[in-house]
Each structure stands twice: as structure tokens, then as C-alpha cells.
Symmetry: C2
Subunit: 128 residues, 2 copies
């Protein structure tokens, strides 16, 4: 069981309260407003610990090469729009249970990353 600390609690609360998919820097910048002397290393360490505990998700690096995090751990996939850069949540798109039985494997973690053009961008005048 993880101990509590002001810093760790703030990081988790921040991720839980938002619905985007920030990277370590973005979280660092936000937490700094409440805890001005928090260090970037602390943010990284706690993101790693929280992900390991299953409290949050690492959703893999975006185009910019930086790891992204998600405070909402129910099973879902992510869609990265290559035009506007937005990351969207989409529901479960396959049946994990079914797959485990069919392949005789045990799945601990499943992450699907889709890349393409989102609805909004498709409806703009631009061609893709």
C-alpha cells in the first residue's frame, strides 16, 4: 500500500479531475500552482508508481514523443487525431475475456491506439 503525501495526492486528484491526457510536464505545471516547490522528478516518480498500482494509465507517447497519462482506468481505447492533435477516449472495441479464452493467455493490460482524422477535422474544408 502506497503512503500518502501532499504531492502524490495532488497528482492523483489532478488526473482524476480532468478528462484530457496530459504528459508529465503538463501535470508538473498544474501542480506547481498549488505546490510551487514540487520537483519534476517527484511527478515522474509518482506517475510511475500510480501506474504500477493501477490507479492511473500510461497511454503511450503521442506524436511529440512524450508519455501521456489518463486518470480514468476503466477499459477503453484512444484515438489520436493527426490533424488537430486531440486525444479522444473511445469505448472498449474488443472483448478481452473472449480473447483470453480463445488464445489461452492471461491479459493484464490492453491498450489500443488508433491514429487518423477526427470527425470535426473531417468536416472541415481540408482534404486528407
Amino acid at each position: 500500500m502506497l503512503k500518502h503525501s501532499k504531492q502524490r495526492d495532488a497528482i492523483l486528484a489532478n488526473l482524476r479531475s480532468r478528462y484530457d491526457h496530459p504528459n508529465a510536464d503538463m501535470i508538473f505545471a498544474n501542480i506547481r500552482e498549488e505546490i510551487p516547490n514540487i520537483s519534476l522528478g517527484t511527478v515522474y516518480r509518482n506517475l510511475a508508481l500510480l501506474a504500477e498500482m493501477g490507479e492511473i494509465l500510461k497511454i503511450g507517447p503521442s506524436e511529440d514523443g512524450k508519455e501521456r497519462y489518463d486518470g480514468h482506468t476503466h477499459p477503453h481505447s484512444h484515438f489520436f487525431c493527426e490533424n488537430c492533435g486531440e486525444i479522444y477516449d473511445i469505448g472498449e472495441i474488443f472483448d478481452t475475456r473472449n480473447l483470453e479464452e480463445k488464445l489461452h493467455i492471461c491479459i493484464h493490460e490492453a491498450s489500443t491506439t488508433l491514429k487518423g482524422i477526427c470527425k470535426g477535422c473531417l468536416h472541415s474544408q481540408k482534404q486528407f
Copy 2:
């Protein structure tokens, strides 16, 4: 259209001929046996170009933090065994076309990474 070079051709041929999921270093080490003076930078540059052209796939970093590549581009997903470290190919596990229509998006790239314990490891005596 990409020009040909001994180095680029060797990298593509190497990836096409193998069925594992090597990282840049592993490819570098192999190609070096044929072309001893190839440089690591050349390997990286060509992997990036080949992936951009759709000739090969980047399948996302493994546990060791290194990007992996796949010379076989038909749509399929990957399963990483957390015990033995093996990466397995598994077929398509969801219907991309269906998803595009349902969500009104255009999908250029889809990659699913599953992590867990493979069949072989599950059948060993160890508990997971």
C-alpha cells in the same frame, strides 16, 4: 518514391525475412555483418522513412523502452508476455471499418498492445 541504397534495401530485407520484433540496435547488429561500416544513424533514419512509407510498422516501445519494428504490415495486434519477454503476433481483434463508420472518423493506423502471460508460461509450474 524512395530511392534504393544498399543500406536501405538490406534493412528492409532483414525485416521482411524475420518474424520477431527487433529494435534498432538488433537490426544494426545484424546488418553490420553484411555491411560492417553502416552507421546507427542510418538505421534509425531508414526505419523512420520505411515506417512513414508504410513498408514496415513501428509497434511501440517494449518494457525496455526501445521502439520495436515489424516487417509485416498486414493488420494485426501484438501480445507481450511479461514473463518470458516474447512478443507474439495475433490477428485483427476488431473491425476497423465498422469503427470508422460508427464514429465518423478516418483511421490511418491501429495498434493494439496486449500485455500478460503467454500460453507456454501459464502452463509452467509458476504462479502468476
